[in-house]
Structure formats: structure tokens, C-alpha cells
Amino acid sequence: MLDTTENSETLLEVNNIEVIYNHVILVLKGVSLSVPKGGITALLGGNGAGKTTTLKAISNLLHSERGEVTKGSIKYRGNAVADLNPAALVKSGVIQVMEGRHCFEHLTVEENLMTGSYTRRASRAELAQDLEMVYEYFPRLRERRKSQAGYTSGGEQQMVAIGRALMSRPETVLLDEPSMGLAPQLVEEIFGIVKDLNEKEGVSFLLAEQNTNVALRFAHYGYILESGRVVMDGPAAELRENPDVKEFYLGMSDEGRKSFRDVRSYRRRKRWLS
Amino acid sequence: DLVFPSLSYRTGPYAAGGIPFADGYADYFTMVNARDGGIGGVPIKMIECETGYNTEKGVECYESTKGEGALVYQPLSTGITYQLIPKVTADGIPMHTMGYGRTSAANGKVFSNVFNYPANYWNGASNAVNHILDINDGNIEGKTIALVYHNSAYGKEPIRTLEELSKKHGFKLSLLAVDHPGQEQKSQWLQIRREKPDYVVMYGWGVMNQVAVQEAANIRFPMENFIGIWWSGGEHDVLPAGDAANGYKALTFHGVGKDYPVFADVQKYVVEPGNAAGAGDQIGTAVYNRGFYAAMLAVEAAKTAQEIHGVKDITPAMMRDGMEALVIDEAKMTALGMPNFGPSFSVSCENHGGPGLGGVAQWDAGAKEWKLISDYAPSDMEVIGELIVEDSMAFAAENNIEERCN
């Protein structure tokens, strides 16, 4: 595993941001995090913690949801993100894979993938090669390349969404729940791909994940978000050893993995809340 | 002040006709104020209110102006007229619908407050047929006349009359409806091309007129056999078709062109001081003259009212009496600088519609002007009168109106 902590440059810096939806709903209450170049950073947390919101704030997609960053700053390579429109951001190498797939329903799978290369000036041959790469990663997509994305299964759409992002040859990928709805085998594969890209091509990742187990296995560093605040952060290996994380995010108790059948509704209070 | 509201429409689909009319209506009042210091010394106050040819806005305009002591309404829209008939009757304000509106309002026995002198739609239909009769030495047995009409209350008005006349004169009538706004009339004109009617009479308004003239030119229908009602006889209706429109005829009940002494006054008292309504470029056009004429009739009626009641500051009720007693003769018009500008006629309690005299104007594309080619000739009151009685009595029955003037 790459050691990323000290000397590598910080690509993305989120500084104490506050996000409000619809002028009234305060969702992020001061979130700070940083993504180092060449690192895989995980953003963990329960439902509604604000992971998606954080990612959207970074990729500047909040506007279209009537959300606003009201405090704090987000910098990519030292430039304030707020000044860039989403397209410019993609051009400078940041791409987001949105939660819930968001494929272009009426475009075929292949056309969907091709839209990923929209900001690139690449030759046909290069594009064909990249397309080939995506198909290598997801052979299932090759079979379905001519069908309209709207008719593919949930998992296939997830693959399309990820493949589409890869087509932009990004420098930083914001992955929102990539494992959602994917078969276990494929989850492993996807994280394998993430790791691959990270190690071979130096792509940095910020990934929001519920599947803490896998996420922490592949990430270098993790942040845990709860109700719009970062409650804990640290190198992935350390987080994995934290007893609270173990209990609440990895589903382990002292005796090893608990059975889902045995959990009771009763819950222990999380240490950081006390 | 004597208040004359002008329910105009300078916007919307019928603005092309609404603008010149409103200009003419306004300019006459301006002229009277500047030249004579008003009517009998009382200045005129004209309140313009934009209706956009929309009935609801028309009502709003009516309500907002009637409180000012409006003397007479000239709504320039058949739709608004229908709306206002009960209202003006209840409020005791007269309404003048000149050459449009509810034709049977000519029956003063039923419609106490509505006037439509000097001519109405049915007169127009008969005038057109009479003109055709004239050309054909009084015999049009077996000929075909096609009516191209705006598919609305207005356009449908002449149908009954024409049907009666066709029975009487033995011509064949063929009806062609054109839907609002009338940009696309291919079907109708192909049908005309196919059926080759001898004459085409048109009841159009707005863009429908231009398209019809253009289409007629396109299929090379002989223009001199194409006769429009007065509302289809504006310059803007024929100009777009260029030379092809040469010879097109339109009915009229007032003078066309600028060749009247009164226009010198307009020039002097209205245009030169910079008080012309609108852009001031409409003077002398057919529809401008119509507005001008309408205002003249209103002023004359007001004068009559002042005479009858011996008061200068007349009320709407007095104005109504003035209108009912209005007499327009050649001497009066000459004195006004408008010799032969319109037919001579008089209004009475029973007859609010005047004699229904109408002339024919023909378009000279080279000179770009209308030329009056006939005298103001009477229409077939035998037929029309009967229809008017029938329709107005039906209205009276529906609304429990007792006949007046007995």
C-alpha cells in the first residue's frame, strides 16, 4: 500500500464548509478534508451524514439542487472550485460518479461511455482504445453496448456510470457509492480497478462508501462523517482497528462477525457522541 | 369635459387595423379641441384604453372609463360589443358600433342604447351583391359567389343575408370559413381555383386579409371580382401583395384618401403641433378615415344633444338622445370640410342603423391608393329589415325587453 501521508502534495482541500439547501436546510456544518495526490481517500458515514453533499459541493453540482456553500472554501490545486463551472472542473481533471447511476437513458451504453470523453481532445484511435479498456474492465457492458442504457439492469448502469468517468482520463475521481447494487464479485473487481488506476496511473480518489469493510481495505485515509460533521479521521489501517468503527461500520463485535439474525434493536452509544 | 373613451387595440393579432382606427378617432377629437375649443366650448377628453381585442380587457376598460362620465363607447370589436350591450343598457350609456357589432341592434325598438349607423354587416353583404348586380346589368342568375369569412361571430354575420339574397337573385352561394388567425388558407383558395366562382366576397380581419389577397393573386383570381367588406379594405391588407393586388375592391361607407379640406386642419392643428396620435403616418388610410369618421359622428351627435337639451355639459343619457336624433347631410359635411365623406342619413328611435348606404373602392396598386368607384348606394332593406326584426325580437324575447318608440 502506498504511503501517502506526509510529503505528497494536496490536490483537493476542503476547508470548513457549510452547505445549505433551499436557503433553510443546513446539511454540512463545517466539514474539512483533504485529498492528497495519488491517494485513495474514503468518506464514510451513515445515511444522511452528508457524504453526497460533500462530493457535490466539490464538483460544483450543488447549484442545480438549490444548495449553496455558505461558508468555507474548496480548493483544487490551490484554485477555488467555486469559480469554476462543473465543465471546467472536469477539464482540469476532477470527475464525479454520481450516486444512483444517472445514466443517459436514451443513449446506448456505448454512447454513454463516449460522453465521458466529451472534454477530451483525443483521436479516434485513442478513444477506441479507452473504450476497449472499459470493456475489459466490464465485459458485461460489451455485450450490452448497443442497448439503451435505460433498459439495462441496475448493476449494469452502475458499471456504465463508472466506465463513463474513466473515459475522461481523470486525475481525481469522486466516487459516490460505487459498490451500491453490485454483486460481491464485482465489488471486489471495482475496487481492484480503483487500486489499479491509483497505482499505475496515479489517479486520486475520493470515495464515499457505505461498504466500510471494502472501502477501508483499499483506502489510504478515511474520514467519518456524521450529521454533517467529521467526527473522526485517520489512516485507514488505524480506523479499521478503532473499536467503534469496528462495531458500527464493520459489523464486528469482540467475538468476530455478528450474525444479522442476532442483532437486537438495542444499540450501544457511539463513543464520540458521548 | 366631454369624455369619449376609445377602446383601442394597438397590440395583438388585429393591431394592424386597430392602430389606424384609433389614430383617426383620436386625431379628430384633438383637432376639434385645438380648432374649436371642444364641442360647443366644452373641451373633449378622450381616454384611450387598450383592449388587445380581448373581451375581458374590454370589460375592464369599460368599467374603468364609465365612471369618468363616458359619453359613448366605440369598442371596435364585435365580441366586446356583445359583452357591453347589456351593460351599457343598464348603465344608460350609448354605444356606437359603426360597421360592426350586433347587426340587429339597428332595431332601436329593442336596443335602446346601441347604434350602428350608417351601415352594418348585412348592409355590406347586400352592397356587395348590389355591386355585382350593377356590373352584370342586374342579372346574376346562375352565377356563383363565394364568401370567404373569418370563422367567428363577425365573419358569420353576412351568411343569413347572403342566403336570402341568393334565393332572391338566383346566384349560387358557396361558403369558405377561415379559422383565426388565417395564415394558412391554401385549402380555401385551391377550392376557389377549382370551383371558379365568378365573384369572391370576403369578410376578413387581421392577417387573414393579407393572406387572402396574396393567395388570390397567387392563383390569379381576377382581382376586380374579389370584393372585401370594409374591414378587409385597409392599405395594409393589399400592400404586402404588391402589384398583384391591383384591382381588388372593398366596400366602404366613408371617403378614402386625403383629398378633403378637413385634412388641412388636421395637418395644422394636430400634426404640426406634434399631437398626432400614434406615429402620425396613418392619415388618409382607409381605416384611419373610418376612425376619423366615427369621431366626427360622435361629435355631431354630441352637438345635437347639446342643442336638444340646451346644456353644454351633456350626460350619457343626453348623448343617447343626440345620437337618436342625429342627422347627417351633405351641407353639414361640407361645412365640416368633409364633402361627400359619407352618405347622408338620419337616425330615429326605431332605426338605429341608418340607411345602410355603401360604396365601393378599388385598389390602385400603382398609385398605392384606394379610389371610390361608386356612389353610396342603398342596400336591400327589404331583405335585411326582415332579418333585423326577426333577430332583435328573438333577443327581446330572451331578455324580456319591451319595445320602445310606440
Binding site: 460522453t115 | 391554401k186 406615429a279
Partner: protein, 332 residues
């Protein structure tokens, strides 16, 4: 064959031609819908505005003269030049592109990711606005538009087909203007189809229509897409404005041609450029033939307006997405 048959054929041909005229308007709708999922009600007003601008340039009218005169008491009307048609068209096109920029800047930008009906409403608001604005700028009187396109029956055709139907038949009547419209439409459609199917931008257009947010997320700049599309739509509006304006003069009613384009759109499918043409042909022929065979003889005429819609409705019941529209994806 009887003359009646040839009359039928003539009506049919003219129906085709009328259809082409409708298609010219429908194309603008399709472009914008395809590219952004916006049902642009303002398309008709855009055609009017484009035509007004064109005439204004041609005649050297001073924009807002009326307003200026009213405020400053001046008496301005014309610059006093007469611009050649070609130059005036270019200038009008420039104005339409500027318009596209402004629409993006002040309206669309703020409405990213809204429901289609909201965008639709915004375009109606825009239509209102432009209607008033166009009138303020150029005046609401009727104007004659002439860029040199010939009008009137095509005599050559008429003379050379007169022998077909015997004495009562004069030969086929086709309006020269319509023939021109057909040529223009063919060129427009071909180039637009090529553009949207085979270019990167074309693909991006379709992506934007499906999902604004996702399009943003892959780096498609909605702003430039919208400016491009609205510019093209502005151009199409200009073409439609020229053709319809030559036919009926330029004035308010020109904006109502949008209503003639809607059934075409519905029948051809909101997202299909060829659909706009084929839909137009079907609607044109359908309404003219119906009026010829049934409407005028039996129903008292003026059936065209509703019949076009009914015809389209009938088609839709069998194909809810129109003839060539993208299938509506229904999944759970």
C-alpha cells in the same frame, strides 16, 4: 382520369408543401427539445422576432424609435438606409445568436435540473417577454417582408400539366414560395441530422436532454450547449420567419404559427429531426385532404386546425412517443 382526381392530387401536393412550411417551425422545437428536454413554447415568437429584426434591418428602422420618441420627444424613425437582403439576414442571425446568449445567461442557467414543466413555463414567460419586447423594438404595425423569394403559382408547372385533366383542369398549382421552402427544409434537415447523429456535440445534446446533472458531471458545459442549440434554433426560426413572413407579412400573428407546428411535432416525435419533416408532410396532407374530402363538403369547413391535432392524437394512441420519437423508457 377525371379532373376531380387531379384536383385531389393537387390538394395532396399542396398539402405536402404546407406540411413543409409547418416543419420549418417544428424543427426549431425539436432542436431545443432534443438538446435540453425543454419544450420551447417561444419558438413561434422567436420566428416573429427574427422576421421583425430582419425587416427592421432591411428598412433601416431605428430600434425602439417609438419609445425614444415618447421619452425624448424626438421624431426618429429610420436610419435612411436600405440594407440588401443578404446582409440583413446575416445581421438578423447575429441578433438571434446574441439572443441565445442572453437566454442562457439570464434564464436557463438558473433553471438547470428543474422539472420539464417549469422550463416549459419559463419559455412561455419568455414568449410573453419577447412579444412585448419585439413590439417595443420594432413597432406593432404590419410589415412587408421581401428577400427576393418568388411568390405566386408556378406557371411552368401549371402549363405543362394542364393537358392532364381535360377542360376543367388548369394544371397543377404549386406556390413558388413553397417550392423554395421545400428546398430549404431539405437542406436544413440533412445538415441537422448529420450534426446531431455524427458529432460529439450532437451526442452531448442528447445527453443533456436526458439528465442535466449527469451531463454536468461528465463535463458537458450546459452553457455552451444551450447557446449552440438556441443559436441554431434561432437560425431555424429566422428561416421559418422569412418563409411565413413572405407569405403573410410580419406582425403579431406570425407567432401563432407555433400552434400549427405542435401537431407536427407530436406526430413526428419531439426528439426526431426527420420526424419533424415527415410529421409535417403527414399533417399537411392529412389536414388538406380531410378538408377537401370531408371538411369542406360535409362539415362546413375550417376543420384544419383541430383535425391536425386529432390526427396526431390518433397516431399517438398507437405510438405514444410519436412516429420517430425516442421510446419513453418505463422501468422500475
Amino acid at each position: 382520369m377525371s379532373a376531380n382526381f387531379y384536383f385531389g392530387v393537387e390538394v395532396f401536393l399542396n398539402g405536402l408543401m404546407a406540411g413543409v412550411m409547418y416543419s420549418l417551425v417544428a424543427l426549431g422545437f425539436v432542436l431545443i427539445f432534443k438538446a435540453s428536454g425543454i419544450f420551447n413554447y417561444a419558438q413561434g415568437v422567436m420566428a416573429l422576432f427574427a422576421a421583425l429584426t430582419l425587416v427592421g434591418f432591411q428598412n433601416g428602422q431605428i430600434p425602439f424609435a417609438h419609445l425614444i420618441n415618447a421619452i425624448f420627444g424626438t421624431d426618429l424613425h429610420h436610419f435612411g438606409w436600405h440594407m440588401p437582403a443578404f446582409l440583413a439576414i446575416l445581421c438578423a442571425l447575429g441578433v438571434m445568436i446574441l439572443f441565445a446568449f442572453l437566454v442562457e445567461r439570464y434564464i436557463l442557467k438558473h433553471l438547470v435540473n428543474q422539472e420539464p414543466i417549469i422550463l416549459f413555463m419559463a419559455t412561455i414567460g419568455l414568449a410573453y417577454f419577447m412579444e412585448g419586447f419585439g413590439d417595443l423594438m420594432w413597432g406593432s404595425d404590419i410589415k412587408k417582408l421581401d428577400v427576393g423569394i418568388p411568390q405566386g403559382g408556378n406557371i411552368w408547372l401549371e402549363e405543362n400539366t394542364a393537358f392532364l385533366g381535360g377542360e376543367d383542369f388548369y394544371g397543377f398549382y404549386l406556390d413558388n414560395l413553397d417550392i423554395w421552402a421545400t428546398v430549404l427544409a431539405a437542406i436544413l434537415v440533412t445538415s441537422l441530422v448529420l450534426f446531431s447523429q455524427y458529432t460529439k456535440t450532437g451526442r452531448a445534446l442528447r445527453a443533456v436532454a436526458d439528465d442535466h446533472q449527469a451531463a454536468l458531471s461528465v463535463g458537458i458545459s450546459l452553457r455552451s450547449i444551450w447557446v449552440i442549440v438556441w443559436s441554431i434554433a434561432g437560425f431555424v426560426a429566422l428561416v421559418a420567419g422569412i418563409m411565413w413572413g413572405s407569405k403573410s407579412g410580419v406582425q403579431f400573428s406570425l407567432s401563432l404559427i407555433a400552434l400549427k407546428a405542435l401537431p407536427v411535432l407530436m406526430l413526428g416525435g419531439f426528439t426526431s429531426i426527420p420526424g419533424a419533416i415527415i410529421g409535417g408532410l403527414i399533417i399537411g396532407v392529412g389536414e388538406k385532404m380531410f378538408e377537401f374530402l370531408i371538411g369542406a363538403p360535409f362539415l362546413g369547413g375550417a376543420t384544419e386546425n383541430w383535425f391536425a391535432y386529432m390526427l396526431a392524437l390518433l397516431f399517438l394512441v398507437f405510438r405514444p412517443q410519436g412516429l420517430f420519437g425516442e421510446k419513453i423508457i418505463e422501468r422500475v
